[in-house]
Amino acid sequence: MKKITTPLTEEKLKDIKAGDTVYITGTIYTGRDAAHGRLIESLNKGEELPFDVKDQIIYYVGPAPAKPGAVIGSAGPTTSYRMDDLTVPLLKLGLNGMIGKGSRSDEVIEGMKEYGAIYFAAIGGAGALIADSIKEVEIVAYEDLGPEAIRKLRVEDFPVIAVIDSEGNNVYKTERAKYEK
């Protein structure tokens, strides 16, 4: 079990290996399908992004609305492969961490090795449990996208498992192989 605080600098990410359980404290940003589409559109037009991705972690999530008195609604990860075609340009800009669930493309894994990044899995569907570790929420861009807007989250001991590390080690493959009959 490892604890890290953001920003996720290159030095810190080298310490994390596939299979590690990690608790994240600090700031992370949310972003999923439509938000990624807009980020890449901005990059293609040469515009500035609504936040600096360098050394940051993006969490693929579209939270449920917060009940009165709550900071956020259920907030588990969404399936990551839908962001695969839109990920490498962000890695190139220094994005060092991604949180989602499910497999990634070879292209993304190559990008992670080349630019140095780590892919974490949060427990899919455990949205009520995960919401407990989110302490503050602020919308930073694309409010019109509703659940898909980019939010800045302050998290404390946010639980994840490192599934693919910056050397390309992939727990989805190695652990599955152990139990295959």
Partner: protein, 280 residues
């Protein structure tokens, strides 16, 4: 002829949308506990513990167990001696979904057009299936369907000569390719026969059958047993991080088909296998 006012339908659908998202069925909770005892992978065991914890938090706080509160799929059995008053039944169901998703703080995930993709902001329209049945009652089942798993579903028109082996290979391959994406441990619904659309509809309905209840047809029960064993031998495990618990159950439904065809559909549900029914 018995009369049912649409207000009663609106209220029931609203309550079911909320309740199905907050409260995981007893059959699924029992299956989690049973799987946890048998799971050999330490990571897998830990994940099952967390899924049980998550379901309990959702129930205690009456919040959604998953942020993807789904597209509302509604199955309606209308007794042919019922007269619906006060408006159209389809409008009433959609109004119930609108109120349930808004008042229940559920995520609105439906877009107006599949290509333009503007959110309808109230999670309508629902996907609704009607069946006429004998009697003077209306049975409504609300099944919020998340798309992490829906996206991993598959259908194929096999040849009659592909037979039982062809069906089994196709289903196991669909689950194998889905890997960690649909949030295992999953519930697998399979529809065999009919036409392509009938097979898909049966696969979706198969997800509603309680975990632990086998098919009443002997040869189909046998296929279900073979499928669950082969699927759990894939090693995918909880969340795809390895282990014995890839599926909690495989439910197969069948329908007569054409001499030239063997349609098969696989509809996958995540571990949050949500649905609730009410008879009015």
């Amino acid at each position: 002829m018995r009369e049912i006012h649409v207000d009663e339908i609106i209220q029931s659908v609203k309550e079911m949308c909320m309740s199905a998202n907050y409260n995981l069925g007893k059959d699924v909770m029992d299956a989690f506990n049973c799987a946890r005892e048998k799971e050999e992978s330490p990571i897998g065991k830990g994940i099952l513990d967390n899924l049980i914890k998550n379901a309990n938090i959702a129930k205690d706080n009456q919040v959604p167990m998953c942020q993807d509160t789904g597209m509302a799929v509604v199955f309606v059995e209308v007794g042919q001696d019922v007269h619906i008053t006060g408006g159209l039944i389809t409008d009433a169901i959609n109004e119930g979904v609108r109120r349930g998703y808004t008042e229940g703080y559920l995520r609105k995930s439906v877009v107006k057009d599949p290509l333009i993709r503007e959110n309808t902001k109230d999670n309508t329209p629902a996907v609704i299936y009607y069946d006429m049945v004998p009697g003077d009652k209306v049975k409504i089942t609300v099944a919020p369907k998340g798309f992490g798993s829906e996206n991993m579903s598959k259908t194929k028109m096999l040849k009659p000569s592909d037979g039982m082996k062809g069906v089994i290979d196709f289903v196991v391959d669909a689950v194998s390719q889905a890997g960690p994406n649909p949030c295992p441990p999953i519930v697998v619904g399979v529809g065999i026969g009919g036409t392509i659309d009938k097979a898909c509809n049966m696969a979706k309905r198969a997800l509603l059958r309680p975990i632990g209840e086998a098919s009443s047809k002997e040869h189909i029960k046998e296929i279900e047993e073979i499928l669950i064993e082969k699927i759990n031998n894939l090693g995918i495990g909880p969340q795809g991080l390895g282990g014995r618990t890839t599926a909690l159950t495989v439910n197969v439904e069948t329908f007569p088909t054409h001499i030239a065809g063997l349609p098969v559909a696989v509809n996958i549900n995540c571990h949050a296998s949500r649905h609730e029914e009410r008879v009015i």
